[in-house]
């Protein structure tokens, strides 16, 4: 007996509808990942003068079950991996000191190609990391100049991992 009251196709439709309702761009990204299809090896039996089986590549659409997995992988990339990238970067930056040039008298100044003497500060401290939005060569202003990358509590990331795992379970039709 089926463990689901819905088919893979219905599950995919519900997911894509809900995604579209919340964010058209994200829905389009997920749809593009699904629509890329997959490569499979096809075998053509020996025929005529050819004694060997001929194997060739063919790009085919995902099944609805596979498309669901592709969609969850894509959502995982945004909802789980992105916060993890920021966390890992922040962690590595925190362990790294900031170099502050030591002021020297003019006669002792280093040449442009020598290593500057530095005082190492803030090792072990959280660093503020920002991504430039308004680039140096852009002549139109676009609002915010930079976007700070902020860590998210890891419990939140774990919750999203569990939420995706739950959805994978709810859309696992392999035994049916």
């Amino acid at each position: 007996m089926s463990a689901h009251q819905y088919s893979p196709r219905q599950a995919l439709e519900v997911l894509t509808q809900k995604l579209r309702a919340q964010d058209e761009i994200l829905a389009a990204h997920v749809q593009a990942a699904i629509d890329a299809g997959k490569d499979v090896s096809k075998a053509e039996p020996a025929k005529g003068k050819r004694r060997n089986v001929r194997v060739y590549r063919q790009t085919v659409p995902f099944t609805h079950q596979e498309a669901l997995e592709v969609a969850f992988d894509a959502l995982q990339a945004y909802f789980v991996e992105q916060p993890l990238f920021i966390e890992a970067a922040a962690e590595s930056f925190a362990k790294t000191a900031v170099g502050v040039p030591i002021q020297r008298r003019r006669t002792q100044a280093v040449s442009g190609e020598e290593r500057e003497p530095l005082s190492l500060e803030q090792e072990g401290d959280e660093k503020m990391i920002e991504i430039e939005l308004q680039t140096a060569t852009q002549i139109t202003t676009t609002g915010d100049e930079v976007l700070p990358l902020k860590r998210t509590p890891m419990e939140r990331v774990e919750e999203q991992k569990r939420n995706i795992a739950q959805l994978r379970k709810l859309t696992d039709f392999t035994e049916e």
């Binding site: 809900k18 959502l75 991996e81 993890l84 990238f85 966390e87 170099g99 920002e130």
Partner: protein, 226 residues
């Protein structure tokens, strides 16, 4: 038995979570750059694990905050206080950069998402008396970083092979880093001297992080041993 309502509820929980749609809308403008920041962080880790002390620097002042370029730029650009890192290993100085343009052997400039380069060249290119793009010979390792929610595009691999070809034969390390994967690209990168396919390079696969970090450590150790 799972009902359609169960499924709908589970989807709502995922999308309405603080790390759901809201997170996507916040980060989507910089998703590629956040991935570069992550790879930059792995380079810092490699330097630390070699016993070096990486130090965060800024183009015009101490990097507080540390700013990643939003678009490819010149190493001497002072449009903002862009960040980089420096470290010394066996008396040789290196710098780690993101989004910096290099002069290829053809004279054409190329952007490297994340790179490790010889610090002497970097300093020379920032010297007000000799501002320039760093030459291909200054590059030690360069990585293309691609965040993808689907399959990687083949064209990225082809373009990066062409880019690295123009960087000449002295580059010791190169790779295409992505959270995603592409089986055909993996094959395409197989021939010797082609970039290494660092696929599924994310904190979800710590062994892939180790491969990336160990490659850097191995090459820098060899390079600075003599």
């Amino acid at each position: 038995m799972a009902t359609l309502q169960d499924l709908e509820d589970a989807i709502d929980v995922l999308l309405n979570h603080p790390l759901g749609i809201a997170q996507y809308q916040l980060i989507q403008r910089v998703e590629e750059k956040a991935y570069e920041a992550y790879i930059f962080g792995l380079c810092l880790r490699a330097a630390r694990e070699l016993g070096a002390t990486p130090v965060l620097r800024g183009n015009t002042a101490p990097p507080t905050p540390f700013v990643f370029r939003g678009a490819p730029g010149q190493i001497h650009s002072t449009g903002r206080n862009y960040g980089y890192a420096e470290f010394t290993l066996n008396n040789q100085d290196f710098e780690i950069h993101a989004g910096v343009e290099f002069k290829g052997t053809s004279g054409m400039t190329h952007e490297l998402d994340v790179c490790i380069m010889r610090a002497s060249h970097a300093r020379a290119c920032r010297n007000p008396q000799s501002l320039d793009d760093p030459p291909a010979a200054s590059l030690v390792g360069g990585w293309e970083c691609k965040f993808f929610a689907g399959n990687l595009q083949k064209g990225l691999g082809r373009a990066f092979v062409g880019l690295m070809d123009d960087m000449g034969g002295t580059v010791r390390l190169s790779g295409l880093c992505s959270n995603s994967v592409h089986p055909q690209l993996r094959d395409y990168f197989q021939p010797q001297r082609r970039p290494y396919p660092h696929f599924r390079l994310t904190p979800l696969y710590p062994s892939n992080e180790d491969i990336f970090v160990n490659q850097i450590k191995g090459e820098l150790k060899k390079m600075t041993a003599s």
